[in-house]
Symmetry: C2
Subunit: 229 residues, 2 copies
DNA sequence: TCTATTCGCTACGAGTCGTAGCGTATCTGC
DNA sequence: GCAGATACGCTACGACTCGTAGCGAATAGA
């Protein structure tokens, strides 16, 4: 245990200016460490990743890691976050096509061993460490959530979805769609351990866009305050 | 690391007959250990639970733990599994009411500190250890999945859902619904970290039972191989 | 009584953690 | 150019956890 919990150094932030005086931190070391972390994750899994191992693998002293990241958790967040960078939602002409494409892309990302080893473990650690949870949210979760917002805007522009009624409702709707898509795909792949095939994606998208198949139509309608005829 | 990975002892299985000769294992010790594990999870989180700590807390020798469980992972699975035992789906008269009730119950379970500390960490470990994953599935996941099957049967009995077309399709449909409900609620609570309120449950259930609100009806229909008129 | 198994206890080597101290390297400001 | 500041690699450290081994005592069936 650390005798005192100090703040070793903020994580490497590309936008942060160099600290002024003294010898600057080696950018090459940053890259080597993050690469080594991803490689170790893929090869050894979460438990196999130790600070000492990553340091050796990156050709760097262990103290160099601790100067940049307070612990393994934060390091892994940064190492994994970049994998989510090239997630994007292309406008394919229909809401269904857009959803299916982004789900397929997300599933592909979750099939990588680095991602599998890291993601759930990070979420688990996040439930106990608010700062870590915030970091995870900023670097991994929120960018994904933005995809939903984007896809929604595209669908509205095409006339598939009506315009936002108000800010709050729109936000809640984005939230619920996001949790549903991300949570379901993660659960399917990482918990149930079954593959996400094109056929499955089609079924899942249908579930989002249509009522449950076989459902008597009238029963599905929620008791809304009677406004749309 | 263990020099050799042997098979110390199968986990305590109530249906297993006593081993015949020798001194029998103390059932009181089993209970004390599982209780201590849950308490330690709630109090210290996943990382705070060590075999030594649990042993001390249960008033038992560390070797006694290792005689029963090969590692912390399996121990925690057993300790947490019992929490899921009293999940059930009551027949409340409508599919919507049944879904909302079971989601609320599931959310309540996920709000317990023991569950939060254990569940995602176990899933994470399970992605690397097939035997552990199987144990998790048998003791925790499959019982939940059974709830979906039960709720579906109830809805069919009430005439809200049509009968199964065939075995395979029904199984896949149960799978997808299960991953959607479990995954979404887990993601909402443990990843997004936002509360599952009655209002949220209502919205989520609506998403399952109806198309996305505001969606132009015709666009939602999947291109089926033209069979139902 | 004999045999088998479990029990609590102690001790052990191996591994990881996060820190401290050292001498050296590199950059800025005077 | 030189002084101050900071990063670097290296080594060593105490504290902790892991999973196992060995011991004598307790508790069951044959």
């Amino acid at each position: 245990m650390a005798p005192t919990t100090r703040q070793p150094a903020a994580a490497p932030d590309p936008t942060a200016p160099p600290r002024g005086k003294g010898r600057p931190r080696s950018a090459a070391a940053d890259l080597a460490i993050l690469d080594a972390t991803r490689a170790a994750l893929a090869e050894l899994g979460w438990g196999g990743v130790t600070m000492g191992h990553v340091a050796t693998r990156a050709g760097v002293a262990k103290t160099t890691l601790y100067r940049r990241w307070p612990s393994k958790n934060e390091l892994v967040v940064d190492a994994v976050a970049s994998l989510f960078d090239d997630l994007e939602v292309a406008d394919l002409g229909s809401l269904r096509a857009d959803i299916e494409a982004v789900v397929a892309r997300f599933a592909e990302l979750l099939s990588r061993p680095e991602t599998q080893a890291a993601l759930l473990a990070l979420f688990a650690e996040g439930t106990r460490d608010p700062l870590l949870r915030r970091r995870i949210r900023e670097r991994i979760v929120d960018p994904q959530k933005h995809l939903v917002q984007q896809g929604r805007a595209n669908a509205q522009a095409r006339g598939e979805l009506g315009p936002d009624r108000d800010e709050l409702t729109a936000g809640e709707e984005i939230s619920i769609i996001f949790d549903t898509i991300a949570g379901t795909v993660e659960h399917r792949m990482l918990v149930s351990g079954e593959p996400v095939t094109p056929d499955w994606i089609h079924r899942f998208t249908t579930l989002l866009l249509s009522p449950l198949p076989g459902l008597s139509a009238a029963l599905a309608l929620p008791e809304l305050p009677a406004e749309s005829a």
